[in-house]
Symmetry: C2
Subunit: 205 residues, 2 copies
């Protein structure tokens, strides 16, 4: 079962990185600490990840896949499109309630955290995060287009609206992290719907 063990080691390193970097960011977490915490020696680390930044790219890919899974569910669930949009943000809120109960602290959006820490330091990481946000905006764009197609929304600039929704989500998560309190996130699903209505009232120039 060598393949199994190798795969386990990579997974353990990845999960440890996800855990530590979520709380303390990228720069403050060292390779030695990652290895110790994961119970892996440095040779194994560098076998799987040529550098800490390669590990960070793998962490981003994990979050990207989780985001895609969540929004794929939203695109195909058996409800009206705008109801699926609202429910997906409700689910996101509930996930963060659960995380905060476990962690005793609000850690924010892991993609947003890495985006602000690293976008000016590493071009490849910036690009990977930029692509991930673009994918996310694209998923919400598709959901809004479904709403337009079913007549639930008039014709609006769905792409700009999707971008506004993601920006608002990231800002709310930042305030919640800074306040160490999820109260500001409580209104998220409602406010997202208000943002979509704002797009209807005043389509971007």
């Amino acid at each position: 079962m060598i393949v199994g063990r190798i795969s386990d080691t990579r997974t353990r390193l990845l999960e440890t990185a996800i855990e530590l970097m979520y709380v303390r960011g990228y720069s403050a977490v060292g390779v030695q600490e990652l290895c110790t915490r994961a119970g892996v020696n440095k040779g194994s680390f560098y076998y799987f990840f040529p550098s800490k930044r390669e590990l960070a790219l793998a962490v981003i890919d994990v979050y990207r896949q989780r985001m895609l899974d969540l929004w794929n569910d939203a695109l195909t669930a058996d409800y009206a499109p705008l109801e699926r949009l609202r429910r997906t943000f409700e689910r996101t809120y509930e996930v963060h309630c659960g995380l905060m109960a476990v962690n005793g602290q609000m850690h924010g959006c892991p993609l947003g955290n890495l985006a602000l820490e690293l976008s000016c330091q590493d071009e490849e990481i910036r690009q990977r995060l930029c692509d991930t946000f673009a994918d996310w905006i694209g998923m919400i764009d598709r959901l809004l287009r479904q709403a337009v197609a079913t007549g639930a929304l008039p014709v609006i600039d769905t792409t700009t609206t999707a971008q506004t929704v993601v920006a608002y989500f990231e800002g709310v998560m930042m305030l919640a992290k800074t306040q160490n309190d999820l109260a500001v996130v409580t209104h998220l699903p409602h406010s997202v719907m208000a943002l979509v209505r704002a797009a209807v009232q005043a389509p971007p120039r």
Copy 2:
């Protein structure tokens, strides 16, 4: 002129920290690098700042004062309140256009950057950032109340709306930093007005 020199040294350290931490964050910038860049020895550093985190708190206070100055102007300028809100975000956009031209890179909102990097690592820094965001939300709240008082807005939940505006601003700055492109910020003044209109259309529950 000893007082002058002492004051100069503190100012130089503060300006160097503002410059370096804006690009690379807090963890990635060391005290030795700050001293070398500022032309100050370590003894002088620790005379003014017992630790790097004290310097970070002073950096936050500088940004807080700039924010208060900007929004004090917005509260007292000789235009209608909503026009002052729009113009202040236009000014913010222009400032970041200028910064990006000088730096060749979009560095985002310095307060947002520190908030996401440090809120889970240092309780005093988190609280200082939280207070700063609360002050900022308070300034926009006062501006919206002026708009309500003059009849430019109906009675809305100005505090929640101000919070939504700040969250949206921070999220847009995050996307702009991740895209290394200010295009997403271009619509900021317009979108903020749409958010305020959304509050009128659908007051929070």
